[in-house]
Amino acid sequence: MEQFFQPQDLRAIAPELALTVFGLGLLVLDLIVPDKRKLGYWALAGVASAAILLFLNRNLDAATAYGGQVVVDPFADYFKLMFLLATGLTVGLSMRYLDVEGEQHGEYYALLLFAVMGMMFMAGGADMVTLYIGLETMAIATYVLVGFLRRRPRSNEASIKYFLLGAFSSGVLLYGMSLLYGISGSTNLVEIADALSRRGADPVSLIAMITVSAGMFFKIGAVPFHQWTPDAYEGAPTSVTAFMSVAVKAASFAMLLRIFLIGIGPLREQWVPVLAAVAVTTITLGNIAALRQTNVKRLLAYSSISHAGFVLLGLIAGNRTGMVAVVLYLFIYTFMNLGAWGVVVALRRGNVIGENVEDLNGLYSRNPVAAVAMLIFMLSLAGIPPTAGFIAKYHLFAAVIETGHVNVAVVAALNVAIGLYYYMRLVVAMFMAEPSEAGSVGFSRGVTSVLVITLALTILIGVYPDWFINLAQDATATLPVF
């Protein structure tokens, strides 16, 4: 009988184990440490030790562990690194913010670490059961984090909406998975692909494909399964919103890529049209809805919907360039978007909510550095050179044009122009409008370091992208292409 567990398998999941240990430690420390803000440093230590273990594991021989439940490949490592960076930055944003909201609890950081552990299994899972359990661990932790501001009705509402819709979409996803299991007799993605390629596209395979995609589209917030996004993003604590828009979204994309490229890869001819329709409507509807928003959090929520549509373009192209573009886009998006959210977090202080576009009015005269930082993040989100966002969009467009999806490319290009309009609305408010209130805006140390790191990376990737492109190429080298 095949060996299902060997001691060296533990090494393959060492980063996840570290996160779990630190998460459990946080729950205990929460009872001992009187100054809860210190717990943020413990969470940072957890993230750092997971990152070190991840680095030490980079040349691990074992391709799979636990009898094929998880794989250790550059693709998984790349995403895990992205999650850890995003989490570290989120902790930096949270420490002061939670004080302001009066909800500084150790459980916040513990849930954050457990969520990242779930994400890592979504990136590394090679079996539907592992992928799904990872997804649920992340999702349940996120539902709670969204409702963390218990005294704010909006936060409660966001949490319950996200929970109900999330549970429903998980049901749809599981239905598709059960059909895939029925077809192949296995939960392993490779064996499912074998069974599907022997069978071809018949009604059962198509229904399985559609239901699995519907479930995954919900998780990445693609149209028509996007309605939860603005409400959940607006009601959640801003630091959690930042976390959701980068880490949760990237993890869902990692799982989506595994399922689409490996599991239902043989049905590529059938899912490309579906994906193209979803991507084009996602980009367009997300952008058009963003035009009319007056709340910065909602505006950025709709912007994140349209960015998810952009990422799908790479999967439609499906060639080597497309795969590189997908992971590179997600990596760059992590930093430029976290930076933008960082500025929004900083505006929340005392009894100022700081979420409306008017709250940005005259930010340049109140805190020039923050205003210039926000300007650069907005240019990057819109995709203007020499920022990182340009590099990301450039690769995506190159990929879809290479494979001849010109119609899709034209719609996407028009949308870049629409996006520019609403990102510039924020810039106009910051630089040209009269300040609606006096006094300068001070930043806490955590937010300042987050802004410095994200700003540096946004510019660095923009002017010197080679190293990051190589990283993305290594990560996608093992992925199947079409």
Binding site: L27, D99, L111, T137, R151, S205
Partner: protein, 177 residues
């Protein structure tokens, strides 16, 4: 043949009671129909010779979780809810969509029903004792997901505690500049 008849009887009861669970206004009635659904699913498990799953289904779901549901329903004043307007204004659209969806699913599954038939020799070897088999699969093939599930449950417990914990006395939002 007999097995098929038994399956259809249990399946029909399960589906009908599931519909009743979500259409009854009285929460206690819903809970009772939920019990019927869970018991008939246990029956389906039995007809598939998965005795262990059937037993767990009855003990955990019907015996444990459902009793808790009934307790909560009794503790919460639910009479008021019966007379409240419910948010189902889109009932007709939902009905049409659901009907179309069910039609598609039934069509697809009937068309491709041979997909679920496997040659005898590829099936897992039959073993004595269903609970042994469940244990073997759980602790060998699915050891890792099984362990992650324990963290998943821990997260759920923490979540429940965090969200239901009483706010600190005073409860006002700390104001600082």
């Amino acid at each position: 043949m007999l097995q098929l008849v038994i399956f259809y009887i249990f399946a029909a009861i399960a589906v009908v009671s599931a519909i009743m669970v979500i259409t009854r206004r009285n929460a206690v009635h819903s809970a009772m129909f939920l019990a019927a659904t869970l018991l008939s699913v246990a029956g389906v498990f039995l007809s598939l010779r998965a005795e262990f799953l059937a037993g767990v289904q009855v003990i955990v779901y019907v015996g444990g979780i459902l009793v808790l549901f009934v307790f909560v329903i009794m503790l919460v004043p639910s009479d008021r809810v019966i007379f409240e307007r419910r948010y189902n204004r889109q009932g007709r659209i939902a009905l049409i969509t659901a009907a179309v969806l069910i039609g598609e699913l039934v069509y697809a599954v009937i068309q491709g029903r041979d997909a679920f038939v496997f040659p005898e020799e590829t099936l897992e070897p039959a073993v004595e004792g269903n609970s042994q088999w469940v244990g073997t699969v759980l602790y060998q093939n699915y050891l890792l997901p099984f362990e992650i599930a324990s963290i998943l449950l821990l997260v759920a417990i923490i979540g429940a505690v965090v969200l239901s914990k009483k706010s600190k006395p005073g409860g006002e939002i700390a104001v600082e500049e």
